[in-house]
Amino acid sequence: MKPEFDPELESLLDVELRKLPPISAPASLLPKVLSAIAARAQLPWWQHAWWDWPLTAKAAFLLLALAIVGAFSGGGVMLDEGVSNYSQQVVERISPVTSLWDTVVTVLNAGRSLVEKMGQSLFLLYAAIFIGLLYLTCLGLGTVCVRYALRRA
């Protein structure tokens, strides 16, 4: 439906809406806000926003973040030989993690080979049809539920 602009209705409604009295806030709003402020003040400093942390805590956090970045970037940020050696030690320590990743990749490759053996195209087609039917069923049920709930409301 293309709306027909009615300037008289717009102007009259504008005037009437502006004449509506202001809505008063409930009496409970102020006490609720003040108690929320008091509750926030009771929280320990580390549960506040980072900008509200004590200066020493912020400085320590920044130093720690720089150290972590430096350790994983091969000590490139700082040129000190001691830091470069430390980063090498970190890489050696995480080598079991890289081995684990290689294992995961091997398992995934085995799974892919299995799918190929099972007649890949038909299997995927049936799976896609099944998932599609499930999706449409959920969609239909959801629509019915929402319409029913809206009517009852």
Binding site: L13, V15, E16, A25, P26, L29, I37, T143, R151
Partner: protein
């Protein structure tokens, strides 16, 4: 005077404006109170700069509006697909809940305005929000469309439907051929 006492005075000055804005946008007193509470908690975090600012009222109104739109969007995205499948008869069901025109003839202006306010709150979100942004927040159609992330034609259609739903509350004045006595300050659309 402590900072908290100053903030309390600040809040008393603006709480009606903040709550009223939220109430008209959301149409629900519980949600409006939650939004108003969040607005003032944010104001408290920024109170150092806000207390002496001339634009504190504008800042509060903008934050209120944005929080209301975020609140509506959060639920709109969840129910959007289903709500857009509502049929025309769902919209006429809402109109049937409004007071019958003949009853309005016998009401005085104060009572009629009370019914108008209640009807405004009962409008569907898709109609009420753009109407409130247009008439109360004085935003242009294009700005409303951009803010809500919908097309310009949808904004105009929704506002048109909202006006027609509320038109029955203006019937006595329309029937009497009243002209608006305050020239509109709105830019020409």
């Amino acid at each position: 005077m402590t900072e908290l006492e100053k903030f309390e005075g600040f809040m008393k000055n603006y709480q009606d404006m903040v709550y009223g804005t939220a109430m008209r946008m959301l149409g629900n007193p519980t949600d409006a109170q939650d939004i108003a509470q969040t607005v003032f908690l944010k104001a408290h975090e920024a109170f150092g700069s806000l207390a002496q600012s001339q634009s504190a009222g504008g800042w509060l109104k903008t934050v209120t509006r944005n929080l209301c739109l975020n609140h509506l969007t959060r639920y709109r995205n969840r129910w959007r697909f289903f709500s857009e499948m509502r049929s025309e008869e769902d919209e006429t069901d809402f109109v049937d809940t409004l007071a019958a025109p003949e009853k309005l003839e016998s009401l005085d202006d104060a009572d009629r305005r009370q019914l108008l306010e209640a009807a405004l709150h009962k409008l569907p979100d898709a109609q009420r929000v753009p109407l409130v942004l247009f008439h109360f927040e004085e935003m242009a159609y294009e700005d409303i469309a951009q803010k809500l992330g919908v097309s310009l034609s949808k904004v105009k259609t929704d506002i048109h439907r909202a006006r027609h739903a509320l038109k029955r509350y203006l019937q006595p004045r329309l029937a009497a051929g009243d002209r608006f006595d305050e020239p509109s300050q709105r830019p020409a659309t």
